[in-house]
Protein backbone atom coordinates (compact mmCIF):
# COMPACT_ATOMS: atom_id res chain seq x y z
CA UNK A 1 0.00 0.00 0.00
CA UNK A 2 1.42 3.37 -1.05
CA UNK A 3 0.64 6.96 -0.17
CA UNK A 4 -1.28 7.50 -3.44
CA UNK A 5 -3.68 4.67 -2.56
CA UNK A 6 -4.86 6.32 0.65
CA UNK A 7 -4.59 10.01 -0.28
CA UNK A 8 -7.50 12.27 -1.15
CA UNK A 9 -6.80 13.81 -4.58
CA UNK A 10 -6.09 17.54 -4.44
CA UNK A 11 -9.20 19.66 -4.94
CA UNK A 12 -8.77 22.99 -3.20
CA UNK A 13 -5.62 24.89 -2.35
CA UNK A 14 -4.61 28.37 -1.20
CA UNK A 15 -2.36 30.95 -2.80
CA UNK A 16 0.16 33.09 -0.89
CA UNK A 17 -1.79 36.26 -1.70
CA UNK A 18 -5.03 35.09 -0.16
CA UNK A 19 -5.88 37.04 2.97
CA UNK A 20 -6.39 35.14 6.17
CA UNK A 21 -10.08 35.95 5.95
CA UNK A 22 -10.38 34.45 2.45
CA UNK A 23 -8.31 31.44 3.51
CA UNK A 24 -10.59 30.87 6.50
CA UNK A 25 -13.63 30.85 4.20
CA UNK A 26 -12.00 28.33 1.88
CA UNK A 27 -10.97 26.12 4.81
CA UNK A 28 -14.51 26.21 6.17
CA UNK A 29 -16.16 24.99 3.00
CA UNK A 30 -13.43 22.96 1.33
CA UNK A 31 -14.38 19.41 0.49
CA UNK A 32 -12.60 16.56 2.06
CA UNK A 33 -13.37 13.59 -0.13
CA UNK A 34 -17.09 13.46 -0.79
CA UNK A 35 -18.16 14.99 2.52
CA UNK A 36 -18.54 18.76 2.70
CA UNK A 37 -17.22 19.19 6.21
CA UNK A 38 -14.41 21.68 5.83
CA UNK A 39 -10.73 20.84 6.25
CA UNK A 40 -8.18 21.53 8.95
CA UNK A 41 -5.42 22.49 6.52
CA UNK A 42 -4.76 23.27 2.87
CA UNK A 43 -1.54 23.39 0.86
CA UNK A 44 -0.38 26.78 -0.41
CA UNK A 45 0.71 26.77 -4.06
CA UNK A 46 2.42 29.60 -5.92
CA UNK A 47 1.34 30.83 -9.37
CA UNK A 48 3.36 28.04 -11.02
CA UNK A 49 1.63 25.41 -8.91
CA UNK A 50 4.68 24.76 -6.74
CA UNK A 51 4.10 23.86 -3.06
CA UNK A 52 5.41 26.70 -0.85
CA UNK A 53 3.62 26.09 2.44
CA UNK A 54 0.65 24.75 4.30
CA UNK A 55 -1.95 26.67 6.27
CA UNK A 56 -3.68 24.80 9.05
CA UNK A 57 -6.24 25.88 11.62
CA UNK A 58 -3.30 25.72 14.04
CA UNK A 59 -1.65 28.51 12.04
CA UNK A 60 -4.84 30.55 12.38
CA UNK A 61 -4.83 30.02 16.15
CA UNK A 62 -1.18 31.09 16.14
CA UNK A 63 -2.11 34.22 14.18
CA UNK A 64 -4.18 35.54 17.08
CA UNK A 65 -1.75 34.27 19.74
CA UNK A 66 0.88 36.88 20.66
CA UNK A 67 4.40 35.46 20.36
CA UNK A 68 5.44 36.77 23.76
CA UNK A 69 2.92 34.48 25.42
CA UNK A 70 5.14 31.52 24.55
CA UNK A 71 7.80 33.02 26.81
CA UNK A 72 5.87 33.51 30.05
CA UNK A 73 2.85 32.00 31.76
CA UNK A 74 0.35 34.77 31.11
CA UNK A 75 -2.69 32.78 29.99
CA UNK A 76 -4.66 33.36 33.18
CA UNK A 77 -4.40 37.17 32.94
CA UNK A 78 -5.97 37.65 29.51
CA UNK A 79 -9.05 39.80 29.10
CA UNK A 80 -12.39 39.47 27.34
CA UNK A 81 -12.20 40.66 23.77
CA UNK A 82 -8.46 39.99 23.37
CA UNK A 83 -8.88 37.17 20.84
CA UNK A 84 -11.66 39.00 19.00
CA UNK A 85 -9.61 42.20 18.61
CA UNK A 86 -6.59 40.27 17.34
CA UNK A 87 -8.77 38.25 14.94
CA UNK A 88 -10.08 41.48 13.40
CA UNK A 89 -6.55 42.88 13.23
CA UNK A 90 -5.19 39.80 11.50
CA UNK A 91 -8.10 39.28 9.04
CA UNK A 92 -6.36 41.00 6.13
CA UNK A 93 -2.88 39.59 6.63
CA UNK A 94 -1.53 37.48 3.77
CA UNK A 95 -1.45 33.70 3.92
CA UNK A 96 2.27 33.88 3.01
CA UNK A 97 3.00 35.66 6.33
CA UNK A 98 1.34 33.04 8.49
CA UNK A 99 1.60 29.72 6.71
CA UNK A 100 3.98 26.99 7.85
CA UNK A 101 6.80 27.10 5.34
CA UNK A 102 8.58 23.91 6.32
CA UNK A 103 6.21 21.36 4.84
CA UNK A 104 6.64 17.66 5.44
CA UNK A 105 5.76 15.88 2.19
CA UNK A 106 5.70 12.32 0.89
CA UNK A 107 5.96 10.89 -2.63
CA UNK A 108 3.11 9.09 -4.39
CA UNK A 109 5.02 5.84 -4.05
CA UNK A 110 6.08 6.31 -0.42
CA UNK A 111 5.15 3.28 1.70
CA UNK A 112 2.54 3.89 4.40
CA UNK A 113 5.09 3.22 7.15
CA UNK A 114 7.18 6.11 5.82
CA UNK A 115 4.08 8.34 5.99
CA UNK A 116 3.43 7.25 9.59
CA UNK A 117 7.10 7.90 10.36
CA UNK A 118 6.74 11.51 9.15
CA UNK A 119 3.43 12.04 10.94
CA UNK A 120 4.77 10.87 14.29
CA UNK A 121 8.24 12.40 14.17
CA UNK A 122 7.07 15.79 12.96
CA UNK A 123 3.74 15.74 14.76
CA UNK A 124 1.64 16.49 11.67
CA UNK A 125 -1.84 15.17 10.98
CA UNK A 126 -1.62 15.42 7.21
CA UNK A 127 1.03 15.39 4.51
CA UNK A 128 0.86 16.66 0.92
CA UNK A 129 1.63 13.89 -1.59
CA UNK A 130 3.94 14.86 -4.48
CA UNK A 131 4.27 13.25 -7.91
CA UNK A 132 7.48 12.78 -9.88
CA UNK A 133 7.49 16.46 -10.93
CA UNK A 134 7.11 17.62 -7.33
CA UNK A 135 3.49 18.71 -7.92
CA UNK A 136 0.96 18.18 -5.19
CA UNK A 137 -1.43 15.49 -6.30
CA UNK A 138 -3.26 14.88 -3.05
CA UNK A 139 -3.32 15.01 0.71
CA UNK A 140 -2.78 12.05 2.99
CA UNK A 141 -4.68 12.36 6.28
CA UNK A 142 -3.95 10.72 9.60
CA UNK A 143 -7.56 9.65 9.77
CA UNK A 144 -7.35 7.67 6.51
CA UNK A 145 -4.21 5.94 7.72
CA UNK A 146 -6.09 5.14 10.91
CA UNK A 147 -9.02 3.61 8.94
CA UNK A 148 -6.56 1.58 6.93
CA UNK A 149 -4.78 0.26 10.03
CA UNK A 150 -8.00 -0.62 11.82
CA UNK A 151 -9.21 -2.68 8.87
CA UNK A 152 -6.42 -5.08 9.68
CA UNK A 153 -7.20 -5.09 13.36
CA UNK A 154 -10.91 -5.75 13.03
CA UNK A 155 -11.07 -8.00 9.96
CA UNK A 156 -7.63 -9.59 10.21
CA UNK A 157 -7.27 -8.61 6.57
CA UNK A 158 -3.92 -9.21 4.89
CA UNK A 159 -2.49 -6.79 2.40
CA UNK A 160 -1.91 -9.62 -0.07
CA UNK A 161 -5.59 -10.41 0.07
CA UNK A 162 -6.42 -6.72 -0.19
CA UNK A 163 -4.43 -6.43 -3.40
CA UNK A 164 -6.36 -9.16 -5.12
Amino acid sequence: MKAKDLMIPLQEYLTPDHTLKEAADILRIARRGEEKIGVKALPVLDSKGKLIGILSIGDILKAVYPKYMYLMELGSFTWDGMVEALAQKMANRKVSDLMTKMVITVKEDSPIMECIDHMLKHNVKRVPVLNGENRVVGMLYEKDVFYYITEFMTNSKSEAHDNE
Binding site: Y68, L71, M72, E73, L74, S76, F77
Partner: protein
Protein backbone atom coordinates in the same frame (compact mmCIF):
# COMPACT_ATOMS: atom_id res chain seq x y z
CA UNK B 1 57.83 59.06 30.63
CA UNK B 2 56.87 56.71 27.85
CA UNK B 3 60.51 55.95 27.08
CA UNK B 4 61.24 54.91 30.67
CA UNK B 5 58.35 52.46 30.68
CA UNK B 6 59.28 51.12 27.29
CA UNK B 7 62.92 50.58 28.21
CA UNK B 8 62.16 48.82 31.49
CA UNK B 9 59.57 46.49 29.97
CA UNK B 10 60.66 45.66 26.44
CA UNK B 11 58.69 43.40 24.15
CA UNK B 12 59.24 42.18 20.62
CA UNK B 13 56.92 42.66 17.70
CA UNK B 14 57.62 39.22 16.27
CA UNK B 15 55.44 36.98 14.10
CA UNK B 16 53.47 35.80 17.14
CA UNK B 17 52.67 39.42 17.98
CA UNK B 18 51.24 40.14 14.53
CA UNK B 19 49.38 36.83 14.29
CA UNK B 20 47.71 37.34 17.68
CA UNK B 21 46.90 40.96 16.86
CA UNK B 22 45.36 39.94 13.54
CA UNK B 23 43.23 37.20 15.16
CA UNK B 24 42.05 39.69 17.79
CA UNK B 25 41.22 42.51 15.36
CA UNK B 26 39.53 40.28 12.78
CA UNK B 27 37.52 38.45 15.46
CA UNK B 28 36.32 41.71 17.06
CA UNK B 29 35.49 43.20 13.64
CA UNK B 30 33.38 40.16 12.73
CA UNK B 31 31.66 40.25 16.13
CA UNK B 32 30.75 43.91 15.56
CA UNK B 33 29.58 43.24 11.99
CA UNK B 34 27.27 40.43 13.25
CA UNK B 35 27.92 38.52 10.01
CA UNK B 36 28.68 35.37 11.99
CA UNK B 37 27.28 34.59 15.46
CA UNK B 38 29.58 36.12 18.06
CA UNK B 39 29.94 32.86 19.99
CA UNK B 40 31.07 31.00 16.88
CA UNK B 41 33.63 33.74 16.15
CA UNK B 42 34.91 33.70 19.74
CA UNK B 43 35.30 29.91 19.91
CA UNK B 44 37.04 29.71 16.54
CA UNK B 45 39.40 32.64 17.20
CA UNK B 46 40.24 31.25 20.65
CA UNK B 47 41.06 27.85 19.20
CA UNK B 48 43.28 29.56 16.59
CA UNK B 49 45.23 31.25 19.40
CA UNK B 50 46.05 27.80 20.78
CA UNK B 51 46.52 25.90 17.50
CA UNK B 52 48.95 28.56 16.28
CA UNK B 53 50.89 28.26 19.54
CA UNK B 54 50.29 31.87 20.62
CA UNK B 55 49.03 30.36 23.88
CA UNK B 56 49.73 26.89 25.20
CA UNK B 57 46.57 24.95 26.00
CA UNK B 58 47.69 24.86 29.60
CA UNK B 59 47.84 28.67 29.69
CA UNK B 60 44.43 29.03 28.07
CA UNK B 61 42.73 26.58 30.41
CA UNK B 62 44.59 26.89 33.67
CA UNK B 63 46.49 30.17 34.01
CA UNK B 64 44.31 32.90 35.47
CA UNK B 65 46.20 35.82 33.90
CA UNK B 66 46.14 34.43 30.36
CA UNK B 67 43.21 32.11 30.07
CA UNK B 68 39.63 31.47 31.05
CA UNK B 69 38.45 33.23 34.19
CA UNK B 70 36.49 30.37 35.75
CA UNK B 71 35.31 32.65 38.53
CA UNK B 72 33.23 34.56 35.97
CA UNK B 73 32.09 31.39 34.17
CA UNK B 74 30.91 29.58 37.31
CA UNK B 75 29.23 32.68 38.72
CA UNK B 76 27.24 33.10 35.49
CA UNK B 77 26.34 29.40 35.15
CA UNK B 78 25.30 29.13 38.80
CA UNK B 79 23.09 32.21 38.69
CA UNK B 80 21.47 30.93 35.50
CA UNK B 81 20.71 27.58 37.16
CA UNK B 82 19.14 29.34 40.15
CA UNK B 83 16.92 31.46 37.85
CA UNK B 84 15.95 28.45 35.71
CA UNK B 85 14.77 26.68 38.85
CA UNK B 86 12.94 29.76 40.14
CA UNK B 87 11.14 30.57 36.92
CA UNK B 88 8.41 27.90 36.79
CA UNK B 89 7.19 28.93 40.26
CA UNK B 90 5.61 31.99 38.62
CA UNK B 91 7.35 34.50 40.86
CA UNK B 92 8.44 36.74 37.99
CA UNK B 93 4.96 36.87 36.44
CA UNK B 94 3.67 37.69 39.93
CA UNK B 95 6.11 40.57 40.37
CA UNK B 96 5.35 41.96 36.90
CA UNK B 97 1.55 41.81 37.18
CA UNK B 98 1.69 43.20 40.72
CA UNK B 99 3.84 46.11 39.45
CA UNK B 100 1.41 46.89 36.64
CA UNK B 101 -1.45 46.96 39.14
CA UNK B 102 0.54 49.25 41.42
CA UNK B 103 0.60 51.62 38.46
CA UNK B 104 -3.23 51.63 38.57
CA UNK B 105 -3.30 51.09 34.82
CA UNK B 106 -1.80 54.53 34.15
CA UNK B 107 0.55 54.02 31.16
CA UNK B 108 3.41 56.22 32.33
CA UNK B 109 3.15 55.19 35.95
CA UNK B 110 3.44 51.57 34.87
CA UNK B 111 6.45 52.46 32.73
CA UNK B 112 8.17 54.17 35.68
CA UNK B 113 7.39 51.32 38.09
CA UNK B 114 8.63 48.79 35.55
CA UNK B 115 11.84 50.80 35.16
CA UNK B 116 12.45 50.64 38.92
CA UNK B 117 11.53 46.93 39.14
CA UNK B 118 13.80 46.13 36.19
CA UNK B 119 16.64 48.17 37.72
CA UNK B 120 16.34 46.38 41.08
CA UNK B 121 16.02 42.93 39.51
CA UNK B 122 18.98 43.71 37.22
CA UNK B 123 21.07 44.61 40.24
CA UNK B 124 20.20 41.34 42.02
CA UNK B 125 20.13 38.99 39.05
CA UNK B 126 21.81 39.74 35.79
CA UNK B 127 20.50 42.04 33.08
CA UNK B 128 19.93 39.42 30.46
CA UNK B 129 17.85 37.27 32.78
CA UNK B 130 15.86 40.25 33.97
CA UNK B 131 14.88 41.49 30.54
CA UNK B 132 14.19 37.94 29.40
CA UNK B 133 11.63 37.71 32.21
CA UNK B 134 10.17 41.20 32.00
CA UNK B 135 10.04 41.92 28.25
CA UNK B 136 7.23 39.44 27.49
CA UNK B 137 5.09 40.85 30.31
CA UNK B 138 5.83 44.37 29.09
CA UNK B 139 4.47 43.50 25.65
CA UNK B 140 1.44 41.93 27.28
CA UNK B 141 0.71 44.99 29.41
CA UNK B 142 1.14 47.31 26.41
CA UNK B 143 -1.38 45.17 24.51
CA UNK B 144 -3.82 45.34 27.42
CA UNK B 145 -3.48 49.14 27.53
CA UNK B 146 -3.54 49.37 23.72
CA UNK B 147 -0.46 51.60 23.73
CA UNK B 148 2.71 51.46 21.64
CA UNK B 149 4.92 48.79 23.28
CA UNK B 150 8.22 50.17 21.94
CA UNK B 151 8.72 52.89 24.59
CA UNK B 152 8.20 50.24 27.30
CA UNK B 153 10.70 47.90 25.69
CA UNK B 154 13.32 50.60 25.25
CA UNK B 155 12.80 51.76 28.81
CA UNK B 156 13.24 48.19 30.13
CA UNK B 157 16.54 47.69 28.30
CA UNK B 158 17.90 51.09 29.37
CA UNK B 159 16.80 50.68 33.00
CA UNK B 160 18.33 47.22 33.21
CA UNK B 161 21.73 48.55 32.15
CA UNK B 162 21.54 51.37 34.68
CA UNK B 163 20.33 49.09 37.50
CA UNK B 164 22.86 46.39 36.70
CA UNK B 165 25.68 48.89 37.22
CA UNK B 166 24.98 48.94 40.96
CA UNK B 167 26.31 45.53 42.00
CA UNK B 168 29.01 42.97 41.33
CA UNK B 169 26.50 40.48 39.88
CA UNK B 170 24.34 43.06 38.11
CA UNK B 171 26.16 43.34 34.83
CA UNK B 172 28.78 41.08 33.16
CA UNK B 173 31.43 43.86 33.05
CA UNK B 174 31.22 44.13 36.83
CA UNK B 175 31.55 40.36 37.28
CA UNK B 176 34.69 40.45 35.13
CA UNK B 177 36.17 43.52 36.84
CA UNK B 178 35.48 42.09 40.30
CA UNK B 179 37.25 38.88 39.48
CA UNK B 180 40.33 40.46 37.88
CA UNK B 181 40.65 43.27 40.44
CA UNK B 182 39.69 41.14 43.47
CA UNK B 183 36.94 43.58 44.43
CA UNK B 184 34.14 42.37 46.69
CA UNK B 185 30.39 42.59 46.41
CA UNK B 186 30.35 45.25 49.12
CA UNK B 187 33.05 47.27 47.32
CA UNK B 188 30.64 47.52 44.40
CA UNK B 189 27.67 48.39 46.64
CA UNK B 190 29.71 51.05 48.42
CA UNK B 191 31.16 52.61 45.27
CA UNK B 192 28.61 52.09 42.52
CA UNK B 193 25.19 51.72 44.16
CA UNK B 194 25.09 55.39 45.32
CA UNK B 195 25.49 56.73 41.79
CA UNK B 196 22.83 54.34 40.48
CA UNK B 197 20.46 55.59 43.18
CA UNK B 198 21.14 59.12 41.90
CA UNK B 199 20.77 58.12 38.25
CA UNK B 200 17.43 56.31 38.53
CA UNK B 201 15.24 59.34 39.40
CA UNK B 202 17.00 61.32 36.67
CA UNK B 203 16.34 58.47 34.25
CA UNK B 204 12.66 58.38 35.17
CA UNK B 205 12.40 62.13 34.74
CA UNK B 206 14.03 61.79 31.31
CA UNK B 207 11.62 59.09 30.12
CA UNK B 208 8.73 61.18 31.46
CA UNK B 209 9.87 64.05 29.26
CA UNK B 210 10.23 61.74 26.27
CA UNK B 211 7.15 59.54 26.54
CA UNK B 212 5.07 60.90 29.43
CA UNK B 213 2.49 62.70 27.34
CA UNK B 214 2.44 60.33 24.40
CA UNK B 215 0.97 57.35 26.21
CA UNK B 216 -2.79 57.53 26.46
CA UNK B 217 -5.30 54.89 27.36
CA UNK B 218 -8.95 54.66 28.41
CA UNK B 219 -10.78 53.43 31.50
CA UNK B 220 -11.74 50.13 29.84
CA UNK B 221 -8.09 49.30 29.24
CA UNK B 222 -7.05 50.35 32.75
CA UNK B 223 -9.75 48.05 34.07
CA UNK B 224 -8.17 45.10 32.24
CA UNK B 225 -5.01 45.56 34.28
CA UNK B 226 -6.84 46.06 37.55
CA UNK B 227 -8.85 42.88 37.02
CA UNK B 228 -5.75 40.70 36.69
CA UNK B 229 -5.18 38.59 39.79
CA UNK B 230 -1.44 38.31 40.33
CA UNK B 231 -1.93 35.47 42.81
CA UNK B 232 -2.96 33.32 39.84
CA UNK B 233 0.66 33.47 38.67
CA UNK B 234 2.01 31.52 41.62
CA UNK B 235 1.96 28.05 40.13
CA UNK B 236 4.22 26.45 42.71
CA UNK B 237 4.26 28.28 46.06
CA UNK B 238 6.48 25.65 47.73
CA UNK B 239 9.17 25.97 45.08
CA UNK B 240 8.81 29.75 45.26
CA UNK B 241 9.59 29.71 48.97
CA UNK B 242 12.55 27.40 48.44
CA UNK B 243 13.90 29.64 45.65
CA UNK B 244 13.47 32.84 47.65
CA UNK B 245 15.21 31.21 50.60
CA UNK B 246 18.18 30.18 48.46
CA UNK B 247 18.30 33.55 46.69
CA UNK B 248 18.33 35.33 50.06
CA UNK B 249 21.08 32.98 51.24
CA UNK B 250 23.13 33.65 48.11
CA UNK B 251 22.71 37.43 48.40
CA UNK B 252 23.71 37.27 52.07
CA UNK B 253 26.66 35.15 51.04
CA UNK B 254 27.66 37.81 48.48
CA UNK B 255 27.47 40.54 51.12
CA UNK B 256 29.83 38.63 53.39
CA UNK B 257 32.00 36.87 50.80
CA UNK B 258 34.93 39.21 51.49
CA UNK B 259 34.83 38.43 55.20
CA UNK B 260 34.18 34.73 54.60
CA UNK B 261 37.08 34.54 52.12
CA UNK B 262 34.83 32.83 49.61
CA UNK B 263 34.71 33.87 45.97
CA UNK B 264 31.30 34.96 44.58
CA UNK B 265 31.42 31.98 42.21
CA UNK B 266 31.65 29.63 45.20
CA UNK B 267 28.65 31.27 46.86
CA UNK B 268 26.60 31.08 43.64
CA UNK B 269 27.61 27.47 42.95
CA UNK B 270 26.57 26.56 46.48
CA UNK B 271 23.21 28.27 45.90
CA UNK B 272 22.70 26.44 42.60
CA UNK B 273 23.62 23.10 44.17
CA UNK B 274 21.38 23.69 47.18
CA UNK B 275 18.37 24.75 45.10
CA UNK B 276 18.83 21.78 42.76
CA UNK B 277 18.81 19.56 45.84
CA UNK B 278 15.76 21.30 47.37
CA UNK B 279 13.84 21.18 44.09
CA UNK B 280 14.03 17.37 44.35
CA UNK B 281 14.37 17.21 40.60
CA UNK B 282 15.03 13.84 39.05
CA UNK B 283 15.76 15.40 35.70
CA UNK B 284 18.43 18.09 36.01
CA UNK B 285 18.96 17.73 32.27
CA UNK B 286 16.48 20.37 31.13
CA UNK B 287 17.48 22.83 33.87
CA UNK B 288 21.13 22.56 32.90
CA UNK B 289 20.28 22.60 29.19
CA UNK B 290 18.57 25.97 29.64
CA UNK B 291 21.80 27.61 30.81
CA UNK B 292 22.65 30.14 28.11
CA UNK B 293 25.58 28.16 26.77
CA UNK B 294 26.20 30.52 23.83
CA UNK B 295 26.85 33.35 26.31
CA UNK B 296 29.08 31.15 28.46
CA UNK B 297 31.14 30.03 25.46
CA UNK B 298 31.34 33.62 24.22
CA UNK B 299 33.04 34.50 27.53
CA UNK B 300 35.34 31.47 27.36
CA UNK B 301 36.40 32.35 23.82
CA UNK B 302 37.00 36.01 24.65
CA UNK B 303 39.15 35.20 27.67
CA UNK B 304 41.42 33.07 25.51
CA UNK B 305 41.60 35.63 22.68
CA UNK B 306 42.52 38.37 25.15
CA UNK B 307 44.99 35.98 26.84
CA UNK B 308 46.71 35.63 23.47
CA UNK B 309 47.13 39.35 22.88
CA UNK B 310 48.21 39.84 26.51
CA UNK B 311 50.93 37.22 26.12
CA UNK B 312 52.39 38.71 22.93
CA UNK B 313 52.48 42.22 24.42
CA UNK B 314 49.66 43.98 22.55
CA UNK B 315 47.91 44.78 25.85
CA UNK B 316 51.18 46.23 27.16
CA UNK B 317 51.55 48.33 24.04
CA UNK B 318 48.02 49.67 24.50
CA UNK B 319 48.59 50.41 28.18
CA UNK B 320 51.75 52.35 27.29
CA UNK B 321 49.72 54.37 24.80
CA UNK B 322 47.20 55.07 27.52
CA UNK B 323 49.94 56.24 29.91
CA UNK B 324 51.44 58.33 27.18
CA UNK B 325 48.10 59.99 26.60
CA UNK B 326 47.43 60.73 30.27
CA UNK B 327 51.07 61.24 31.31
CA UNK B 328 50.44 59.01 34.32
CA UNK B 329 47.89 61.47 35.71
CA UNK B 330 45.33 59.23 37.40
CA UNK B 331 42.48 61.74 37.29
CA UNK B 332 42.98 62.13 33.55
CA UNK B 333 43.15 58.33 33.25
CA UNK B 334 39.82 57.92 35.04
CA UNK B 335 38.20 60.53 32.83
CA UNK B 336 39.58 59.03 29.63
CA UNK B 337 38.55 55.54 30.73
CA UNK B 338 34.99 56.42 31.70
CA UNK B 339 34.24 58.17 28.39
CA UNK B 340 36.29 55.91 26.17
CA UNK B 341 34.61 52.89 27.82
CA UNK B 342 31.17 54.34 27.27
CA UNK B 343 31.64 54.84 23.53
CA UNK B 344 33.69 51.68 23.04
CA UNK B 345 31.01 49.62 24.82
CA UNK B 346 28.35 51.13 22.61
CA UNK B 347 30.30 50.03 19.55
CA UNK B 348 31.73 46.62 20.46
CA UNK B 349 29.48 45.19 23.20
CA UNK B 350 30.78 45.79 26.71
CA UNK B 351 31.80 42.17 27.41
CA UNK B 352 34.69 41.88 24.91
CA UNK B 353 35.61 45.47 25.69
CA UNK B 354 36.03 44.83 29.42
CA UNK B 355 37.75 41.51 28.77
CA UNK B 356 40.40 43.55 26.93
CA UNK B 357 40.52 46.48 29.35
CA UNK B 358 41.01 44.46 32.56
CA UNK B 359 44.52 43.23 31.73
CA UNK B 360 45.27 46.65 30.23
CA UNK B 361 44.48 48.43 33.49
CA UNK B 362 46.50 45.90 35.48
CA UNK B 363 49.41 46.31 33.10
CA UNK B 364 49.21 50.06 33.37
CA UNK B 365 49.32 49.74 37.16
CA UNK B 366 52.42 47.53 36.89
CA UNK B 367 54.12 50.26 34.84
CA UNK B 368 53.21 52.91 37.39
CA UNK B 369 54.10 50.97 40.51
CA UNK B 370 56.65 48.35 39.46
CA UNK B 371 57.51 47.40 43.04
CA UNK B 372 53.97 46.48 44.05
CA UNK B 373 52.12 43.25 43.41
CA UNK B 374 48.97 41.38 44.42
CA UNK B 375 46.28 43.32 46.25
CA UNK B 376 48.67 46.19 46.97
CA UNK B 377 48.85 46.74 43.25
CA UNK B 378 45.23 45.98 42.34
CA UNK B 379 43.82 48.03 45.20
CA UNK B 380 46.29 50.92 45.02
CA UNK B 381 44.32 53.98 46.21
CA UNK B 382 45.08 55.75 42.93
CA UNK B 383 43.95 52.76 40.88
CA UNK B 384 40.57 52.12 42.55
CA UNK B 385 38.82 55.11 40.90
CA UNK B 386 40.07 53.78 37.55
CA UNK B 387 38.32 50.45 38.17
CA UNK B 388 35.10 52.28 39.09
CA UNK B 389 35.40 54.49 36.01
CA UNK B 390 35.83 51.39 33.86
CA UNK B 391 32.76 49.76 35.43
CA UNK B 392 30.62 52.89 35.09
CA UNK B 393 31.70 53.61 31.53
CA UNK B 394 31.26 50.02 30.35
CA UNK B 395 27.92 49.36 32.08
CA UNK B 396 26.28 52.70 31.30
CA UNK B 397 27.90 52.69 27.84
CA UNK B 398 25.90 49.56 27.09
CA UNK B 399 22.92 51.85 26.57
CA UNK B 400 24.61 53.68 23.70
CA UNK B 401 23.55 51.31 20.95
CA UNK B 402 21.44 48.26 20.16
CA UNK B 403 24.49 45.99 20.46
CA UNK B 404 26.07 47.78 23.44
CA UNK B 405 24.83 45.29 26.00
CA UNK B 406 23.42 41.77 25.86
CA UNK B 407 20.18 43.00 27.45
CA UNK B 408 19.54 45.27 24.45
CA UNK B 409 20.08 42.42 22.02
CA UNK B 410 17.57 40.27 23.93
CA UNK B 411 14.90 42.99 24.13
CA UNK B 412 15.24 43.80 20.43
CA UNK B 413 15.10 40.10 19.56
CA UNK B 414 11.91 39.44 21.54
CA UNK B 415 10.35 42.64 20.25
CA UNK B 416 11.03 41.72 16.64
CA UNK B 417 9.59 38.23 17.07
CA UNK B 418 6.44 39.84 18.47
CA UNK B 419 6.15 42.03 15.38
CA UNK B 420 7.55 45.30 16.75
CA UNK B 421 10.86 45.93 15.04
CA UNK B 422 13.22 48.35 16.81
CA UNK B 423 15.83 49.51 14.30
CA UNK B 424 19.47 50.10 15.21
CA UNK B 425 19.01 53.86 14.73
CA UNK B 426 15.76 53.99 16.67
CA UNK B 427 17.45 52.37 19.66
CA UNK B 428 20.36 54.76 19.37
CA UNK B 429 18.09 57.81 19.14
CA UNK B 430 16.98 57.11 22.72
CA UNK B 431 19.90 55.09 24.06
CA UNK B 432 22.72 57.43 23.09
CA UNK B 433 21.36 60.61 24.73
CA UNK B 434 20.52 58.64 27.88
CA UNK B 435 24.00 57.13 27.85
CA UNK B 436 25.57 60.58 27.55
CA UNK B 437 23.42 62.03 30.35
CA UNK B 438 24.14 59.13 32.74
CA UNK B 439 27.86 58.98 31.95
CA UNK B 440 28.14 62.76 32.39
CA UNK B 441 26.56 62.52 35.84
CA UNK B 442 28.76 59.53 36.67
CA UNK B 443 31.80 61.57 35.60
CA UNK B 444 30.88 64.31 38.04
CA UNK B 445 30.39 61.63 40.71
CA UNK B 446 33.83 60.10 40.11
CA UNK B 447 35.50 63.51 40.10
CA UNK B 448 33.71 64.74 43.21
CA UNK B 449 33.95 61.54 45.23
CA UNK B 450 37.46 60.31 44.43
CA UNK B 451 39.36 63.45 43.50
CA UNK B 452 37.71 66.29 45.44
CA UNK B 453 36.20 64.74 48.58
CA UNK B 454 38.47 61.68 48.35
CA UNK B 455 36.08 59.35 50.19
Amino acid sequence: MNETFASTQPFVMDTAFWVATAIFLIAYAIIVSEKIHKTVVAIFAASLMIVLKILEQHEAFHIEELGVDWNVIFLLISMMIIINLMRPSGIFEYIAIKSAKLGKGEPFRIMAIFAVVVAVLSALLDNVTTVLLITPVTLFIADALEVDPIPYLLSCALASNIGGTATLIGDPPNIMIASKASLTFMDFIYNLAPIVVILMPIYILTIKLIWGNKLKTSEIQKQRIMEMDERGALKDPVMMKKSLFVLALVLTGFIFHGILHLQPATIALFGAGLLLLLSMTHDPHHILAEVEWPTIFFFIGLFIIVGGIAKVGLIKLMSLQMLDLTQGNMFATSMVIIWFSAFASAIVDNIPYVATMNPLVIDMAKQLWPNLSGLQLLHHPDLLPVWWSLALGACLGGNGSAIGASANVIVIGISEKAGNKISFLKFMAYGMPIMIITVAIATVYVWLRYYVLQI
